[in-house]
Each structure stands twice: as structure tokens, then as C-alpha cells.
Amino acid sequence: MSKSNFTRRGLLKTSAVAGAGLALPTIFTAQSAHAFTNEPTGGTVTLGFNVPQTGPYADEGADELRAYQLAVEHLNGGGDGGMLNTFSSKELDGTGILGKKVEYVTGDTQTKSDAARASAKSMIEKDGAIMITGGSSSGVAVAVQALCQEAGVIFMAGLTHSNDTTGKDRKANGFRHFFNSYMSGAALAPVLANAYGTDRKAYHLTADYNWGYTTEEAVKASTEAMGWETVAAVKTPLTQTDFSSYIAPVLQSGADTLVLNHYGGNMVNSLTNAVQFGLRDKQVNGKDFQIVVPLYSRLMAKGAGANVKGIFGSTNWHWSLQDEGSKAFVKSFGTKYGFPPSQAAHTTYVQTLLYADAVQRAGSFAPCAVAEALEDFEFDGLGNGKTLYRGADHQCFKDVLVVKGKENPTSEFDLLEIVEVTPVEQVTYAPDHPQMGGPEATLGACNNGA
């Protein structure tokens, strides 16, 4: 006679274990048969493009998406090949990635960290995306990068300028091609000293969030090192639309230079307000009053209109660059869409090519193999001259452009002119630089996921 050991306690235990197993996110279980998360098995590979399709950065997101679609077309052998023809690495031959046709899914970050994480998670879990890329804000980049690290996929950041993305919040699975606040400060300071002298009193208005803080810190440090004095640094709410209350007291402070650590709508409004107040027509301390915008984007310059004329700032890339890579990209993009690409489009296009190339060189889609291929990878021909993807923090090091609002634009896209190409040596810093999180900042271990 057999005795059943089917007891109430046993049943509860078994149910609990089974329940817990079922409740585990599919991200950690569904791929258990594979070597890594979302290992491509068929003839295609899926990339996840996570860009702002709604919200205030929707136009920038649309430009990123155009660039991604162009990159996919080129990777699959379509179009004129764009930067594949000028890229120093010759691994990509227009047959997809490792012979698999490239497909893509898109998500909407809404420029909100929670929405961006949700759309990235959905693309990884439901659509099987092997890599996530995109975004137009540092808050989103840091949040999605952390998610990709947990999920075991590679994150190729889009437009994110805060030091933290590859500073204190750096992750082994995350990579940034775009430049950062430190680099903007380091590139701008000598140009500003040259144009406006070393005896200046600066007044900072800073957007009250992570990116604003790192930009203010970087510009302050680099301009003070040149001899400038910082009179005041005032934080402005991210939701602020009218900056008159913040701009009106600037002249009373004795400052002769206003630094606007603002981006997007904040920058458009604060610059418009500052010009409206006639600051640029004033003389303070015997000098012409000046305004500086550390991070420029063409889309923002368009929003601010004629107010940007003559104002210095920095940018990651500009379509008027005359190197072969930039020319090839502008030609492909311009022919397909009818207007020149923005810096957001450039960085996302390049990130897609860099990922594909790394997979090709690694001979595997496994995130850790791809990360290894990207680390300390030196390349050229993608529009910024010789570039290094530094292994220690996954930040690209390349020349930085200092630009100025153009006096006589010929079109709505021709708003900025390049004043100086700051050589990479001048913007390079140690991986444990205090602005980058100091010695405590580490990448952690690479995660292959499943």
C-alpha cells in the first residue's frame, strides 16, 4: 500500500514555489534556454529605438528616428551606404549584422524616466530587442541604462549630455557617443577667454535637475580656471516658462556675462527673455554684456530664432563639417528627407553603426562580447575625427565643436557656425575625475542576461 505524501503543507510549499516562478518577470526566465537575453535565432535581429515621440522633445525624437531608419537601411544594404563607406572599420558590408537582416521596433520615452523604462522593457520582453538605443534627456538615459544593465542587453545612449551617464551612473552594458558637460566646459572656456577676455563676472541660471547641475559645475570650473569670477548661480524650476524674474536682477548683480545652463524649451525661453531685456545691448564693467549657452542644438536654435545670433555654445556635431564621414551622412540623410540632420540624428546613426560593427567584430550578439569589442575601440570616419570609446567609462572621446549663432542664416537649418574644433586632448579627463563621480564610480560587471 502506497502512502501519499500529498499534505496540505506540501501543497502550499509547492504552490508558493511555482507561484514565485511564474511571477518572475519573463525577462529573467523566458530566455533561459539561450546564452544571453534575446539571442537572435532566425534570420533577423531586432533593435529597439527608444525615442521621445510625444512631449516637448518629440521633434528631436523624430529626427533620431529618421537617422535610425537610415542606419537600418544602410546596414541592410539599401541606399547609398552613408557612413559605412567612410567608417574606418570595414566589417560591415550591407548584409545586416552577422548575416542577419536588421529589423527594429520603436518605443516612446515621452522624455519621462518611467515611461522610457516601460517602453524599453516592453521592447526587450515582448519584441525581443537585442539592443536599446535613443533618448533625448539624461534622466531618461540614466534610467534606461540601468534597466538594460539588469536585463542584460546593450544600451547605446542617444542625446544625453550629463556627466553622470558615463560618470557616477556609468554601467558596463551602457555606452555613450555624445559628449558631456565636462567636455563642453573644457572646450568653451578657452574660446570664451579669447573672445571676451579673462576678467569676466559670470551669472549662471541653471535648470534645477541633474543635467543642469553637472553643466553648471563644469562651466564654472573651466571658466574660473581661466580667471572668470562666478557672481551667482541661481537654480530655475524645470517647469519655468517666463524667466523675467530671474533675468531682471542679473544686471544689478554686477555680472557682465550670463551663462544659461538650460536645454530645450527652458533654453529657448530664457534666451528669448534675456535678449528681450536688452542685456546684449548693455555695457557692464566697461564691457559689452554677453550671453553663453553651453549646450546648443539646432532644433533649439530654431525655436529661439534670431536671438541666437552671435551667442557661443558647444555641440557634438554639425552638418556643415567637411570631413568625408559628415559629408556622406549629410548627403544620405538630406537626399532621403530633404533637410540636413541634427546632432541628435548624427549620434544615434553613429551609435547604431558602432553597435553593429562591434557585433560583427566580436562575432557574437552576446552583450559582454559586444561590450568588449566596443571598449577601447578606436575609429575614424564617423564625423568627429579620430575617436576612442574609452573602456574605463564607456565614453567616446573626440573633438568638440564650439559654435556660434550665425549672423546671416541662409535657411532655417543654417543657424549655427563652427567657431572652433577643440581637439580631443583638451577635453579628455581621468575616468575617476571628481566631476565624474570620483574613484567610487565603477562600471560594475557586464550582464549577459539569461
Binding site: T54, G55, P56, Y57, A58, D59, A232, V234, K235, P237, T239, T241, D242, S244, S245, Y246, A248, P249, L251, Q252, S253, G265, V268, N269, T272, N273, Q276, F277, G278, D281, K282, V284, L299, M300, K302, G303, A304, G305, A306, N307, W319, S320, V330, K331, G334, T335, F339, P340, T410, S411, F413, D414
Partner: protein, 343 residues
């Protein structure tokens, strides 16, 4: 002293915008009893009327300039406005330069129609529904309207400058005997304040001194009795809705040179305007104007560096703090009628 004068001036133009929007809001609440969360969207549509009008003025045909090249190396295509062909370049440019003030003529009929259509098409069906329903439907409408605007005009702000004649700022400091540059104030903001004062005065005069206004005020006080006298008060209230929409629209048009319009500018103003209405007293027109200027000035003072050093973040909460205090101590608002929102 200079700093105080400066912040009062700053508060005045901010207050002008709050007062103009809140005036329309409270007018609609006072007449139709509707809490209109789409009122910020009307402000935004007004601003985009200026954008549209300026685009109409700059309608162009393309001319190829063989001497220049575009970014792809092809001969440059230059847009030449039809106004240049019609009036010559100098006059054409002058008309385009004055696009914002001229667009007032375009905005008033458009906004009256938008207000009329909104009231007849949607809001009248919610008169006898609870305030929560009205808020939901008007808030939904506001979201739809801003998405429509975004679809046609994009998410980026669109620069819409004031005429060149009003560029720059007036040196109040020098005029008042202080050092130059200490109290400067942009010409366009002075114009905005004067414009707001004129509009507010006109609305009050219309309600106070015309028969139409008298009937509307009577209807606001006792709708039923006015109805029993054989007056079609609903029709007049619909016109008032159109008028409120036009006031919001004009506030939006004149605001475009201050901040480049974008699709969510209405939402940015909506919540603040509601606070203004609540602080001023629901349904009270003078209350809305008073509270608009009061909160505008308070907000400016709270944004001073000296204040922020003592109380960081005060600039973000000051308006809501005032609202809480008013609601606790005087629920009907500064100038609200006794009994309104107090039961």
C-alpha cells in the same frame, strides 16, 4: 529698493497674463457655471493664431539662386514672400515685421468662433452634469486640442518676435533717478501690460454700461428670473463664452513675443489661472484681476535670489501656499460672493 521695483514690474506682466486668462475662466464659471479646463488651450490657440497669421503673411514662392548652393551642393532655393511681389521688399518686410499686432484682427473672429463652437458643440451638453464631469470633458478637450496643434505645428517652440520697433528695453532706473541699467524692462512687456489693462477695462465697461452686459449680469445673479422675463439668456451666455475665448486668445497672441509659443503653453498657464480664480473668488471678475496681479507679483518676489537663499524652492510653491491659506481662511476667495464655495 531697485530690486523691489524690478520685481513689481516683473509681476505686472506675469499678472497681466494670469488676469486675462482668469478673467475668461471666471466669466464662464459665473455665467454658465462650467469649470472650463480647456481655457488654457484657448490661450494656446490664440498664440497659434499669431503663428498662423504670420505664416500667411510669409506665404512664399521659390526662386532659385544660382550663385549660392544649399547643403547638398544644389543651387539654393530661396523663398520670396508674395508680399514682396505685391508691395515691394521694404513694405512687405514691414508688414511681416508687424505680424503679431496685426494678427489681433485675425484672432478675434477665429477665437469667437472657436468659443462658440466649443460651447454649442460640447460644453452645453454638460451644463446639468456635476463639476467633476465638466472638468473631465474640458480637460480631455484641452489634451485633444494641444495634440492637434502639435500635429500641425510640431513640438518645438516657434519664434514669433515683436515688431523691431519694440525690441530692447526701457531704462526705468535712469528715468527714476537710479543708476542706469538697474531697472530695465522690455518695451513689449510694457505694451502687454497696457494691452491687458485695456482689454480688462473694455470687458468691465461692456458688462457694466451696455444693455447686453446688464442682462448678462442679471443672468449671473438670477438666471431663472431673467428667463421668466422672456429673455433668451442661454444665447447671451453662449456669446459670453465666445467673448471669454476671444480674451484668452488675445492674451495668447500678445504673449507670443514674450515666449515662443509651443503646444503645451496652455497647460503651463491653466493650473495657475485656476489658482488665480479660486484666490480671487469663483465667478468674481474684479477678484480674478486682483488675484492675477497679486499672485504674479508674489511669484516674482519669491524668485529673487535673496529670497531663494533663505527659502530655497519658495518660487515653485508660493502660489499654492497662498491658495491654501486663502482656502482655509476665506473659502469664497478674496472677492467672491458670500456663500459661493462655502457650503
Amino acid at each position: 529698493m531697485e530690486a523691489i521695483i524690478l520685481q513689481i514690474l516683473n509681476g505686472l506682466d506675469k499678472g497681466s497674463a494670469y488676469a486675462l486668462i482668469a478673467l475668461g475662466l471666471t466669466l464662464i464659471f459665473g455665467t454658465l457655471g462650467v469649470v472650463n479646463f480647456a481655457h488654457g488651450a484657448l490661450f494656446m490657440i490664440g498664440a497659434f493664431c499669431a503663428v498662423t497669421f504670420s505664416r500667411i503673411l510669409t506665404l512664399s514662392h521659390t526662386v532659385v539662386d544660382e550663385t549660392k548652393t544649399d547643403f547638398l551642393g544644389n543651387p539654393l532655393k530661396v523663398d520670396v514672400p508674395y508680399l514682396h511681389d505685391l508691395f515691394g521688399q521694404a513694405t512687405g518686410d514691414a508688414i511681416i515685421d508687424w505680424a503679431v499686432p496685426l494678427s489681433i484682427l485675425f484672432t478675434v473672429p477665429v477665437m469667437m468662433f472657436v468659443g462658440y463652437a466649443m460651447e454649442r458643440g460640447l460644453i452645453k451638453h454638460f451644463y446639468n452634469r456635476p463639476h467633476a464631469d465638466q472638468i473631465l470633458v474640458t480637460f480631455g478637450l484641452a489634451i485633444v486640442l494641444q495634440e492637434v496643434i502639435k500635429y500641425f505645428y510640431g513640438a518645438n517652440p516657434i519664434p514669433t518676435p515683436a515688431p523691431q520697433a519694440f525690441a530692447g528695453s526701457f531704462d526705468f532706473g535712469a528715468a527714476l533717478g537710479f543708476d542706469p541699467n538697474l531697472i530695465i524692462y522690455p518695451y513689449w512687456r510694457i505694451i502687454y501690460f497696457v494691452f491687458a489693462a485695456v482689454i480688462i477695462g473694455a470687458v468691465f465697461a461692456f458688462l457694466q454700461y451696455t444693455t447686453f452686459g446688464m442682462v448678462v449680469r442679471a443672468g449671473m445673479a438670477d438666471r431663472e428670473t431673467v428667463g421668466l422675463l422672456g429673455i433668451n439668456i442661454d444665447k447671451r451666455f453662449t456669446i459670453m463664452f465666445g467673448l471669454a475665448a476671444a480674451v484668452a486668445g488675445l492674451a495668447g497672441v500678445m504673449y507670443t513675443p514674450i515666449n515662443s509659443p509651443n503646444y503645451h503653453m496652455g497647460m503651463d498657464f491653466l493650473v495657475l489661472s485656476f489658482v488665480v480664480v479660486v484666490v480671487g473668488g469663483m465667478g468674481s471678475l474684479p477678484g480674478a484681476v486682483l488675484a492675477g496681479f497679486l499672485l504674479g507679483i508674489l511669484e516674482s518676489f519669491a524668485s529673487m535670489r535673496e529670497v531663494l537663499e533663505i527659502l530655497p524652492g519658495l518660487n515653485q510653491i508660493i502660489i499654492y501656499l497662498v491658495a491654501i491659506v486663502i482656502l482655509l481662511t476665506r473659502p469664497r476667495g478674496l472677492m467672491g460672493r458670500k456663500g459661493v464655495m462655502e457650503d
